[in-house]
């Protein structure tokens, strides 16, 4: 142990937090030192968010002690936490889009004169904060006009504008591009040099290895271990995090799919004005067809058109027959399933139960002749899926919104499995999902393919596309750059087509 206790700015000892019967944290501990980046690593549901909410004053610990700068630390709410020197940047955006950047950054702390907000001082102060962080953002712009990435940076500026001794960054790069992430990393370096401690939460292992000084792994609400970055490898961390060794992240195909089978879905010159053009591909039963492209390449738009959400020119053949779906209902009836990109917006009804969400797309299968829901059959089917996909839920009646990201994603998968699709579209199926759940989702995808389901796998993660797909369609600015298979399935070739350097 190098560094004395003098260095310690935040110390958490033996924290326990229970929600009713469920213990979210058991004997959690953490020691964060000045001027260091301390990464907290754990699967979704491991207790990171709960711990952060206790630090932010949103929740109160059931037992245990926290000290900040040598004094007992017990914030009553996030504002109190900020006043005590602990700032937190949440991953969910908490900005008001109708207000300006300056108004958001200094919200509730606006400089006042005679009781009124002093606009000039507000702008000056906000501009100084933004300039200090080196952010390329105009503070008088309305937040609603900014891109998601820019908003994330404003969010960070807001968190950092408090005179904080400890700053918590909860998945700050999840919506940032590489160059924007670099801006953030610069900011973190600057904070470190000022002696600020940073608690960093992320799922991106490369990023963690690059930024962190210390890494603490937690699992199932319990402390596992703390490591110096230089003494540990990514593989070792993953093993600690999931509690087992992962020989392979991408499971191998269950069996070779036959290249001779007739395509279940063929798309010929699909086009939609301003979104995509001349899209042609086909997919056979049991095949995993990857779709790779940079953000804005039109992948999701193509899938929405296939699913009947939007109209498009061109021909789509399903089982050899020309089809034109005017609504998702028609596409589903024919045998298409669609795990959409944003599970909270388009995938789940968060306020409703796990069971209701799972049966949602197959409800007509559980409807009797008079329109009555056959609840017993419905529950049995939902329970089977919960078991098959190993969804961790208290019961079928638990609200889906209370589960972790990985389990929520499995509910969406379960929903589509119940419709027994012939073609399953997966748009970013592992986004915001921890490593353990990722592995399980990959296994499910493989299993589905083995059972003859054709899979369209859209992903921004190159290793995922490479690891899972039989062939890969690379899209660039609304058109197909190339359809690659065999030896062409390598990162260099795919990136060359995705960026348009090669066509």
């Amino acid at each position: 142990m190098h560094g004395s206790t003098m260095d310690t700015i935040l110390e958490i000892s033996d924290i326990t937090k229970s929600f009713g019967q469920v213990a979210a944290l058991k004997g959690m501990r953490l020691k964060v030192r000045r001027g260091r980046v301390h990464t907290l690593l754990g699967e979704n549901g491991a207790g990171k968010s709960t711990l952060m909410k206790i630090l932010a004053g949103v929740h109160e610990a059931t037992s245990g002690e926290i000290s900040l700068d040598g004094r007992p630390y017990r914030p009553t709410d996030p504002r109190d936490a900020a006043a005590l020197g602990l700032a937190i940047v949440f991953q969910e955006l908490s900005l008001c889009s109708n207000l300006t950047v300056a108004e958001n950054i200094l919200a509730t702390r606006e400089p006042r004169r005679f009781g009124f907000i002093n606009d000039k001082a507000l702008i000056t102060k906000a501009r100084a904060i933004v300039a200090d962080l080196g952010l390329p953002i105009d503070v008088s712009e309305k937040v609603g006009n900014l891109s998601i990435a820019q908003r994330q940076l404003v969010e960070i500026a807001k968190g950092l504008s408090h005179e904080a001794k400890v700053i918590i960054l909860d998945e700050p790069t999840s919506s940032l591009s590489d160059s924007e992430a670099e801006i953030l990393f610069d900011i973190i370096a600057r904070l470190k040099s000022r002696g600020v401690a940073v608690i960093y939460i992320s799922h991106r292992m490369e990023e963690i290895m690059r930024l962190s000084d210390d890494i603490t792994v937690i699992r199932d609400g319990e402390y596992v271990s703390t490591h110096d970055r230089d003494d540990v490898t990514i593989e070792a961390l993953i093993a600690l995090m999931v509690g087992r060794r992962m020989d392979e992240i991408y499971p191998p195909p269950v069996h070779e799919q036959s290249a001779s089978a007739a395509p279940v879905l063929s798309v010929d010159r699909l086009a939609r004005d301003g979104e995509f053009d001349n899209i042609s591909f086909d997919v056979r039963p049991g095949e995993i067809l990857g779709f790779f492209g940079l953000v804005g390449s039109g992948r999701s738009e193509v899938m929405n058109a296939l699913f009947g959400m939007k109209s498009a020119a061109g021909t789509v053949r399903f089982d050899g027959q020309a089809v034109r779906f005017r609504s998702p209902a028609e596409a589903i009836a024919r045998g298409i399933g669609f795990v959409t990109e944003n599970r909270k917006e388009e995938g789940l009804v968060l306020s409703h139960s796990v069971g209701w969400n799972i049966s949602m797309a197959a409800l007509s299968d559980f409807t009797g002749p008079l329109g009555f829901t056959r609840k017993r059959a419905e529950r049995e089917a939902a329970a089977t899926e919960v078991g098959r996909l190993a969804i961790k839920t208290h019961s079928l009646d638990t609200p889906s919104g209370s589960l972790s990201g990985g389990n929520q994603q499995k509910i969406v998968l379960a929903k589509w499995l119940l419709t027994r699709p012939k073609v399953l579209i997966l748009d970013e199926p592992t986004r915001g999902v921890d490593v353990g759940a990722k592995f399980e989702i990959y296994k499910i995808i493989r299993q589905l393919a083995a059972e003859g389901t054709a899979i369209l796998l859209i992903s921004s993660e190159l290793p995922e596309v490479l690891g899972m797909s039989d062939r890969v369609v690379v899209m660039h600015e609304g058109v197909i750059g190339a359809t690659l298979s065999g030896a062409d399935l390598n990162p260099e070739t795919i990136m060359a087509h995705a960026t348009g350097f090669q066509s």
Partner: protein, 320 residues
């Protein structure tokens, strides 16, 4: 043994869900009984049920609409139109059955217009139904130039005045409609789709629920329920009045919200709405019996609604 514990569990769930508003209802009854001993009687409770019928039925329809995250402010106007349509049918010499069918169809049609404008033109239902509230209210006066129309069909007027098997017909109507709506909402896939769509419209669309059709159907249900309320009201009054059902939509909304229906959509039950309607009925009746002036009644009603909803919200937060 398991049967018993299942029943107990169901009871506990019901108490958890409706405990707050049931308590409000019981407290109101206790207060009124204390202030006026005649309040606590079978006769008076029959009275309350009859008085609350018009609002309760409209509130059943309103529950569907609010459950979907929408609102229907034209309900009071539809009540008046329905009475007038019935009266005009009789003026043309039609019998009871065709008059009733035409009246309910008129309700369905008015609801459909609300639904189509909301679903297909993507206008907010608040704006659509503020507009149709005025339009329908104006249309009531068209046939008679604003004068009331007498209804002399004896079957029609019997609905509001006669009894069947010892209970007023009006109570049978409420009971049947309650059961029908309750079953439709809690036991059928149609009801499930309403809950899901109210909870997250986008997710419902992506799961193949025909959201537009659902929305139009539900506004039609609200229209038909309001039309039935109109039939009851006009049968009690022996006439169609141009100002009938004025501001009843607010009572209907209050009943649904008192009963736990969330204005954000996705949450609500017919049982809750019925209890909510009873609270409003008990308040109206109790204060009338105490000869409380009308303007005081308005103030008290507003306060009670605030307190009851607050108690309910607090109880639900405490549960988390």
């Amino acid at each position: 043994m398991t049967q018993l514990s299942e029943a107990q569990a169901a009871l506990m769930r019901a108490l958890k869900q409706y405990g707050g508003i049931l308590l409000s209802l019981v407290m109101l009854c206790a207060i009124f009984s204390f202030l006026n001993p005649r309040f606590m009687s079978v006769v008076n409770f029959m009275n309350i049920l009859q008085q609350v019928a018009v609002v309760a039925i409209a509130a059943f329809g309103m529950t569907w609409v609010i459950l979907l995250g929408e609102i229907d402010l034209s309900v009071g106007s539809i009540i008046a139109v329905a009475g007038m349509v019935g009266a005009q049918c009789f003026a043309f010499g039609l019998g009871f059955a065709p008059a009733l069918v035409i009246t309910l169809l008129a309700g369905a049609l008015m609801g459909m217009l609300n639904g189509v404008l909301t679903a297909k033109l993507l206008l907010p239902s608040f704006i659509v139904t503020v507009a149709t509230m005025g339009i329908y209210r104006g249309m009531v006066s068209l046939p008679t130039n604003g004068a009331p129309a007498m209804i002399e069909n004896s079957t029609w007027t019997a609905i509001g005045t006669e009894s069947l098997l010892g209970l007023p017909v009006i109570i049978w109507v409420v009971a049947v409609l309650f059961v029908v709506n309750h079953i439709l909402l809690s036991k059928t896939s149609f009801g499930r789709r309403a809950y899901l769509t109210g909870g997250n419209r986008e997710a419902a669309v992506y799961s193949g629920i025909k959201v537009d059709r659902l929305k139009i159907t539900i506004f039609m249900i609200s229209g038909v329920m309001a039309a039935i309320s109109g039939v009851l009201l006009s049968s009690r009054l022996f006439s169609a009045q141009t100002n009938a059902g004025m501001s009843y939509e607010l009572d209907a909304i209050a009943a649904a919200v008192l009963g736990g229906t969330s204005l954000a959509g996705g949450v609500g039950t017919m049982v809750g709405t019925l209890i909510g309607a009873l609270i409003i009925g008990v308040m109206n009746n109790g204060m009338n019996m105490l000869s409380v002036p009308y303007f005081y009644q308005l103030i008290v009603k507003g306060l009670v609604i605030l307190i009851a909803v607050w108690l309910d919200v607090r109880a639900k937060q405490a549960k988390r």
